[in-house]
């Protein structure tokens, strides 16, 4: 009865965890609603947009919270811990897939709607924009795991550099460096959409 009167929306994540471990459904609902979409999208992106596996890993992640949430160190920030656990689940998944096949099939890329605003300036043509987005998605999937994780945590999940360093257990300088390489590699792979850059590159090659 007392539980029914409690407003768990006001509770911090760290305060909800012990209740979830005890099987409190309302506390679980609150925590789940806070993170289900974020974590699902993280898995979705990390697993090359495999929705089925993303759902599986989302479930595994929350099972870990329910069953092993008492291992969470309350001195840490819950979201950071959650992303670290999610990152480990992805690593395990990569290993599993790698074991299954060394020649992983690429996903069939669908055509996404066009981009507005700033992107219109660069790619005013809708088809170009769709192609660009698809190419970007592919390029993202081709990045090394650590670079992709860093990139997604920063630009999709919008974590701070410090939070990413905690999630990935590395110095902030390493995070910045990984972001730089991720951006540069993506940018290099998308050069086809920059005729002026290609021209310059060819010119430099010839001159060199």
């Amino acid at each position: 009865m007392i539980n029914l009167l409690k407003n768990y929306k006001k509770y911090s994540d760290e305060k909800l965890i012990p209740l979830v471990v005890k099987g409190n459904e309302r506390a679980f609902n609150e925590l789940y609603s806070r993170y289900e979409k974020k974590m699902y999208r993280f898995f979705y992106r990390m697993l090359n947009r495999d929705t089925e596996r993303a759902n599986d890993l989302l479930q595994d992640l929350f099972i870990k919270i329910i069953e092993k949430g008492d291992r969470f160190d309350t001195d840490r920030k819950f979201s950071t811990w959650l992303y670290a656990v999610a990152g480990n689940l992805c690593k395990n998944e990569y290993r599993r897939v790698e074991r299954l096949t060394n020649n992983q099939e690429k996903m069939v890329i669908d055509v996404r709607p066009g981009l507005d605003n700033e992107m219109d300036f660069y790619l005013p043509n809708a088809i170009d924009r769709s192609l660009f987005t698809n190419r970007l998605t592919n390029a993202l999937e081709e990045l090394e795991d650590i670079h992709r994780t860093c990139f997604i945590l920063r630009y999709q999940e919008e974590l701070s550099i410090k939070e990413i360093s905690e999630v990935m257990d590395c110095p902030e300088g390493t995070v910045k460096s990984r972001l730089y390489y991720a951006l540069r590699k993506l940018s290099d792979k998308l050069q086809v959409f920059r005729p002026e850059a290609l021209k310059k590159m060819n010119y430099e090659k010839q001159a060199g």
């Binding site: 979409k37 605003n117 990139f151």
Partner: protein, 245 residues
Amino acid sequence: MRNRPASIDPQIEQLMLTKSYGQLREAEILLLEERFSPECYDATRKTLLAATDMFARDLPLPSPKVKTNLLKVLAAQKEKSTNSNWWSTLLNYPVPAWQPALGASLVLIYFLAPWTGTQNYSDQNVFALQETDIVHEAVAAAPGYLTASVPAVTAPVRRKNVGPISSDLTQKHTILDTLQEVAQTIQRTFHAVADPLAVPAMHLSNSVFAANDTAEIRPQTMEQYWIDPVNIMAVQDQSRRLVSF
């Protein structure tokens, strides 16, 4: 050739998200100079904008089945948590509460256990049953003591290994019968002795038991056993007539 630090920080990110190279002020260009050429800046900016835009647009939702499955796991966890609550609370208590509790329990068990309490029985009327089939009754307050011989016919039964009385009714009755015989013999042949403790007594197997509600046999030392007369009286109430004192 300039040495460009291969890293990106939030300040540069912010510039990339908001301004093209042509829109940058002089101070901002200085900030970039060591890391990005104008072409490189614009190319990276384009990638960054496209990525953030894609992330903002491509918003898939998880399957509702996930939550349904998780609620089942949660219900199971709740049950588990309720069952294990009392001892986990004790074991996980930050102050080591269970160790003192365990210690106290052991001390309590020691004092309540059947092999202790010799002190209590020394002042009462008891039978000492020892190896030679001679039963001896000690009466602490009396001026003299009584001894009795027990027929050898009861010896095989008495030497039999037996389990707890309460677990096997047949065995329990066998033991009680034996005790009854011993007691009746004592009644028939009591006579005075000078030193009760000098008399050897019948041996019962070391695996002899403690009873819960009938006769109780307690080891005084490794070799001797005592029968609690109070409990023998209790047996009488169950229509199994034993000796009365």
